[in-house]
Amino acid sequence: MTDQTTMLEPNFVPYQENDEPLLRVSGVTRYYGDRLGCTDISFNLWPGEVLAIVGESGSGKTTLLNCLSTRLAPTAGAIEYRMRDGSMRDLYQLTEADRRLLMRTDWGFVHQSPADGLRMTVSAGANVGERLMAVGNRHYGNIRATATDWLERVEIATDRIDDPPRAFSGGMRQRLQIARNLVTHPRLVFMDEPTGGLDVSVQARLLDMMRRLVADLGLSVIIVTHDLAVARLLSHRIMVMRHGKVIETGLTDQVLDDPREPYSQLLVSSILQA
């Protein structure tokens, strides 16, 4: 039963006044020649936080995601990341070797198209095991056991472990891509429209699975989506982008229930009610 002390002093406090952000983004701007990708984006991302970047096509959200994930150097601005040793490092000052190591251990990137994030010609098991092998795991049995475990976690029958993703449905491929990213227990995962192009029922299953994994693993996630329902289900916080700028940001349900900017109101009012 409940007792007075736990009520007044909850023993689990995720928020601490003095804790530090995982990612610190300051003034990030990217031009393509004289065409604007995104401009003057600044925000912090804290451990365990899921941030959704929403906006229509061409709003600059994918440009921003690519800058943040070191896939595209910004024209101006700084992106700092808290390494596992606690130090805050400017991502674009890291050596390429360190950056690539970060990307395949401490980070994940889930692409909209699984073909961009998977090796389509090698087995599901090897797809999941690749990161383990890349960080020096040299025990086949252990790699396979870990891969089996991850297939279970993403609800892929373990007897499919030796099948290539080409033999998988779209939803399975996307779940496999997620497993492949999470196997090294990254702290930060980038997702680019992870539910795009999937059937509604397949989407629901994927979203539910992602929601559980994110909570269980305490992941920080930056997810780009144009689907506000996805943002509502997964994210704590929303950034609304338009014409390369962040026009509104805040708690997810606050932005969706009480949008302030004209464009945000238009976006929210455009959702089809099921």
Partner: protein, 233 residues
């Protein structure tokens, strides 16, 4: 009794940009406090802004004017009106609970897990939380055969009772009640009244919207008429 929640000159209006930017005033100069172990009920007709006040306290709506102060700990008073999103999320996890009329169904999660989740979020171990969830579902007369099923296919009344159990399970010092008894039968209304009484005994400060006059009579320590806050400042 110490104050848990204090609304200081709170005001709210909606600017409808899609309708030529017209401004719809909702409430202004809202000024009241809720103490520990007290249940305050907001009164007034529909559209008077009762629901908006609850949503501002829970952070769903922005607070345009004034302060919403909540006591989180002995030396920790948070102003919700300008709290950072993650601060607000922390408050929702450990300080402010919300019992709403509608269950946001999470696909493929069983009723007992839906109910247990907030308590686990507060750090309780899964066994304790599940046991407490079963206890509440039993008290609210949700048939045991349903407990392990996802509530998506439950009747409206069953879903609502699952959500009430979810709202009452965790140990929040502040609890917002948004029509918790609407469409419940007499037996279940009585259970909700009991639950509110237990929370009061634990020192929980509660603020509610209740149209059911019987229940309101039973649980309200004070009724605040929201129409008083409608006059422009």
């Amino acid at each position: 009794m110490p104050v848990r929640l204090y609304l200081n000159s709170v005001g709210k209006s909606f600017v409808m940009h899609l309708q030529d930017g017209i401004s719809l005033p909702v409430v202004s100069n809202v000024d009241f406090a809720v103490e520990t172990g007290e249940c305050v009920v907001l009164g007034g007709p529909s559209g008077a802004g009762k629901s908006s006040i609850l949503k501002m306290i829970y952070g769903n709506y922005r607070c345009d004017e004034g302060q919403i102060l909540v006591v989180r700990g002995p030396d920790d008073i948070v102003n919700i009106a300008d709290a950072a999103p993650r601060r607000m999320l922390a408050l929702r996890q450990d300080t402010i609970g919300y019992v709403s009329q509608f269950l946001r169904v999470i696909p493929r999660v069983s009723a007992v897990d839906v109910v247990a989740e907030p308590l686990i979020g507060q750090g309780a171990d899964e066994r304790t939380a599940t046991a407490r969830a079963r206890e509440l579902l039993a008290r609210l007369n949700v048939p045991e055969g349903l407990w392990s099923l996802p509530p998506a296919t439950f009747s409206g009344g069953e879903q609502q009772r699952v959500n009430i159990a979810r709202g009452f399970i965790a140990n929040y010092p502040v609890l917002l009640l948004d029509e918790p008894t609407a469409s419940l039968d007499a037996a279940n209304r009585a259970v909700v009244v009991e639950l509110v009484d237990e929370k009061k005994a634990q020192g929980v400060a509660m603020l509610g919207i209740l149209h059911d006059l019987d229940v309101r009579e039973r649980i309200a320590d004070r009724i605040i008429d929201v129409t008083n806050f409608r006059q422009a400042a």
